[in-house]
């Protein structure tokens, strides 16, 4: 480095110095960018197959004893389409069948904005009784120790064993609602976790919207889903 053109404090950068800084920062950013892109390319397939496995396992967990799964995609027009993979964009649900090919239940994907970020979950639904029979959080960023208890709190998860989700003429008979901890009275109410009200309410909203959107389509196409095509 030659002597600075403008005399001043030791840190004052000269023109030549500025170019050097810009070059260096550019090089560092480029290097980091390339590294991130390379990692993304190398891990993409692996991540997708991992997610596929996790989804399949979660469906299995929510509908114990099923032997076969069929993935249905919900087109915006309201049509159903059989999909080959378990991941990807768009609304989806999974039908589970036992060893004799009889429909056990349906697992539906749902998501809703929680306290920190979007909560995505799967819930199992029984078309025969029109009730929700299980619930599992797949991904969330809720506050550790408080909001994230929606995933593991046993009394909270007990809400989803037989939660009333009846629809008539394409509308829910009772909207699923989250009530204050300890005040649950009806079969369509969710007892919130104390200290995690916002996350509990998000779960209630998620189920209410999803039941309203998806279950009428399932009930309408029930014959087809029972055949598994």
């Amino acid at each position: 480095m030659s002597s600075p053109i403008i005399p001043g404090p030791a840190h004052a950068p000269s023109a030549a110095n500025s170019i050097r800084m810009v070059r260096l920062l550019g090089a560092v950013s480029l290097m980091c960018g390339l590294l991130i892109v390379a990692t993304n390319i190398l891990t993409k397939d692996r991540i997708q197959s991992n997610q596929e496995t996790i989804t399949r396992e979660s469906v299995q967990e929510l509908l114990p004893g099923i032997k076969k799964q069929v993935t249905y995609g919900l087109e915006p027009s309201g049509e159903l389409k059989v999909l080959t993979g378990a991941t990807g964009e768009g609304k989806k649900f999974f039908a589970g069948y036992d060893g004799t090919g009889k429909l056990v239940g349906v697992v539906i994907e749902a998501s809703e904005r929680g306290y920190a970020d979007v909560i995505s979950a799967l819930y199992s639904y029984s078309p025969a009784t029109q009730t929700i029979i299980g619930f599992k959080v797949i991904d969330m960023r809720e506050t550790p120790g408080l909001g994230d208890r929606i995933k593991s709190d046993i009394p909270f998860l007990a809400n989803f064993k037989g939660l009333d989700a009846k629809v008539e003429n394409g509308k829910e008979v009772h909207n699923i609602t989250t009530v204050k901890h300890g005040t649950k009275k009806n079969a369509w109410e969710i007892d919130a976790i104390s200290g995690a009200t916002i996350s509990s309410r998000a779960v209630g909203r998620m189920l209410q919207k999803s039941v309203q959107d998806v279950t009428p389509v399932i009930l309408k196409n029930l014959d087809r889903i029972e055949r598994g095509n």
Binding site: M21, C32, I36, T39, P144
Partner: protein
């Protein structure tokens, strides 16, 4: 205060790994990285996960920073360090997702928080930006594990008192009424204060013993 500063700056005679792990423990001695320390130590599992993820990012990014330290003009060093650390965090995010989704689900929320941990930047500035690659990586490993150790200490107090469990297993029996306060932010401050008090007491006692020896 000056005496404390001096004690903290003596590094030459200590191994970089042990230095971070104990002598200059980032939480109990340097009081750095308070945001994750207070925010996510409400269970032992969270504390360990965060500590290990931070360790990994520190080791990798300090290796990179140290390798190019002579090329970085000092006016833009902070920007370069942040870019490299953020890059390391993103790579870790992808890798963890590819290796195991259950581990990602346990850690996922904390990985992006590592960038905003002032400890990672402070050690880049104070150590990795000046020292050779191997020493910098050892410093990252020691500091990271020291951070994990401190987080686990806090998480232990908070989980046992706040939920009556340890790593999710009940330890205090069904008669114990959990102090939910310890899972909430005030519990973080209280537990941290108790640990700092303990370390300060130890330090004072050591100083008194040394003084007594000197006068004899």
């Amino acid at each position: 205060m000056t005496a404390e500063k001096q004690a903290v700056t003596i590094t030459a005679d200590t191994h970089p790994f042990l230095n971070g792990l104990w002598k200059q423990n980032p939480v109990f001695v340097m009081v750095l990285g308070m945001c994750p320390t207070l925010a996510i130590t409400n269970s032992v599992r969270n504390a360990i996960s965060m500590g290990l993820a931070t360790t990994f990012v520190m080791v990798v990014s300090y290796g990179m920073i140290s390798a190019i330290r002579k090329l970085i003009p000092k006016q833009v060093r902070i920007a370069s360090f942040i870019a490299i650390i953020a890059c390391g965090v993103t790579v870790v995010d992808f890798l963890v997702k590819a290796i195991s989704i259950p581990v990602y689900q346990a850690l996922g929320a904390y990985i992006p928080l590592i960038v905003s941990n002032c400890l990672t930047l402070e050690r880049a500035e104070a150590y990795a930006g000046k020292q050779p690659v191997i020493k910098s990586m050892l410093d990252g490993l020691g500091m990271g594990l020291g951070f994990a150790l401190a987080l686990t200490c806090l998480g232990m107090v908070r989980e046992v008192l706040g939920a009556g469990t340890f790593l999710g297993y009940p330890v205090l029996g069904s008669h114990f009424e959990p102090w939910v306060l310890f899972l909430l932010p005030p519990g973080g401050f209280i537990s941290l204060a108790m640990w700092l008090l303990f370390f300060a007491w130890r330090k004072e006692r050591a100083a008194k013993l040394a003084a007594a020896e000197a006068t004899q």
